[in-house]
């Protein structure tokens, strides 16, 4: 299963590279969102710095809806998903490859946004950059696992562009809360030692939804 997932992940990354114009558009979309937040809140730099973590995750969340939707649109174009199923390919490997691929894409996006955010909002980093990377990775994973399942479902429905955020946003509220809190703590320091409990919540969310995704995804793609 893992080797199949690896092949599929390579295929998705190759596809992403061949269509990098789309990837660029996604990056600029996320950057524009980040910029718009600062316009919406006025040039109050202390306020911006205080809520920088929240804006970063909102920008990522909006971008993720686009990238998640795209990840299964590619498979639907010539019914490639059917083609993969009939090879045969393990559906769980398919889930793993898509979820990991989406995580990597979001993480890449986060790393592009990070320096921009630091410059734009005047943020300083209190804890180690490594812990920030860890929080970002956990948060991206938390969006991707349920996002992959929902994207596969929404892709076959009418009005899929509305449906995916409608399904996904309420579901990942806890992950978003935890990610924002943890990011803010990493940026501004953690005198009360709250970071571990938020990271714990984020990890539990990941554990549950990666597990559920693996268990349920075969039913989603098979009849």
């Amino acid at each position: 299963m893992l080797s199949t997932a690896w092949i599929l992940l390579n295929k998705d990354l190759l596809l992403e590279w061949r269509t990098r114009a789309r990837l660029n558009a996604l990056v600029f979309f996320a950057l524009a969102t980040l910029l718009l937040f600062s316009f919406a809140l006025g040039p109050d730099s202390t306020l911006l710095a205080r809520h920088a973590g929240g804006y970063l995750w909102l920008a990522l969340l909006f971008a993720s809806v686009l990238s998640l939707g795209e990840s299964f649109r590619v498979e639907q174009e010539n019914q490639c998903l059917d083609g993969l199923r009939l090879v045969p390919t393990d559906a769980r490997a398919l889930f793993l490859s898509k979820a990991v691929g989406n995580t990597l894409l979001l993480l890449f996006l986060a790393l592009v946004l990070l320096p921009v955010m630091i410059a734009l909002y005047g943020v300083t980093l209190s804890l180690s950059p490594l812990s920030l990377l860890g929080v970002l990775a956990l948060g991206c994973m938390a969006i991707s696992a349920p996002g992959t399942v929902y994207s596969a479902i929404a892709n076959h429905a009418r009005a899929r562009d509305v449906l995916l955020p409608l399904l996904l946003f309420p579901l990942i509220v806890p992950a978003l809360l935890a990610a924002v809190k943890a990011t803010t703590l990493v940026l501004q320091g953690d005198p009360m030692g709250q970071l571990t409990s938020w990271v714990g919540l984020l990890s539990a969310f990941n554990l549950i939804y990666w597990g559920l995704g693996l268990a349920l995804f075969p039913r989603v793609v098979e009849d």
Partner: protein, 237 residues
């Protein structure tokens, strides 16, 4: 058979309405006012049962969803559909009652109280569930996918609850009245049973509608002369 069920359903509804009448009288006039909250607390008799019914609906929806994935049957699919809709009804007006309660107690309609906030988040999730059902035409696919959705959404309830509570921990969480008069408990119980009867009557009626819709979607007017005897309501896969 059908007549018997019909009268049973009607009886359930009548029982619910009568109990609700008694409950309303108890809640509004019979039960004593609360020490701290005065008469405003009387909203509890409609607000709390509504929230309970909403949670029961989520639970039944989850069980029906799991059941469908283990053994495909239109019955569990219809049950899941009806509980989602009825649960959403109770949840939405329960939430409105919570806001009406919040205004005189906290001074604002919306206080980011963990329970109400979690409930609001879950209601949006179940609205998505119903929207998905509406947007997929193929009955088989709709049943499978909404079952997956029902499971995923239900697992989210405790996580949402914990995360919102931690998120709000800077603010004192409002607690249930410490000194509960026994009459209050009784009034709450009567109202809860009234809501339960109505809930069951609603779910049952909605279930019949769902089953009839399935039948219509799958009706086979002119083909399969022999195999169609069961109306296509049994699945062999």
């Amino acid at each position: 058979m059908e007549d018997k069920r019909r009268s049973l359903r009607l009886g359930l509804a009548v029982l619910g309405v009568v109990t609700l009448g008694v409950g309303a009288w108890m809640g509004l006039f019979w039960a004593p006012p609360d020490r701290e909250m005065g008469d405003v607390y009387r909203i509890i008799y409609v607000h709390v049962p509504a929230m309970w019914m909403s949670l029961i609906a989520c639970l039944v929806n989850f069980i029906a969803s799991v059941g469908y994935l283990f053994k495909a049957s239109w019955k569990t699919d219809s049950l899941a559909e009806s509980t989602a809709e009825v649960g959403l009804l109770f949840g939405v007006f329960g939430l409105v009652l919570g806001m009406l309660w919040g205004k005189p107690t906290w001074g604002v309609y919306w206080d980011w109280d963990p329970r109400l906030t979690s409930m609001a988040v879950m209601l949006v999730a179940y609205m998505g569930y119903l929207a998905l059902r509406r947007f997929i035409e193929d009955p088989e696919k709709r049943a499978v996918w909404s079952a997956v959705l029902g499971i995923i959404a239900f697992m989210d309830i405790p996580i949402v609850w914990y995360s919102v509570r931690w998120w709000r921990s800077l603010h004192q969480v409002q607690s249930t009245p410490q000194t509960v008069h026994p009459d209050m408990t009784l009034a709450l119980r009567v109202n809860a049973f009234a809501f339960l009867f109505l809930f069951l009557a609603f779910v049952w009626s909605r279930y019949r509608i769902a089953q009839a819709n399935r039948l219509e979607e799958l009706a086979l007017p002119d083909s399969l002369p022999d195999a169609a005897a069961d109306g296509g309501l049994t699945r062999t896969t």
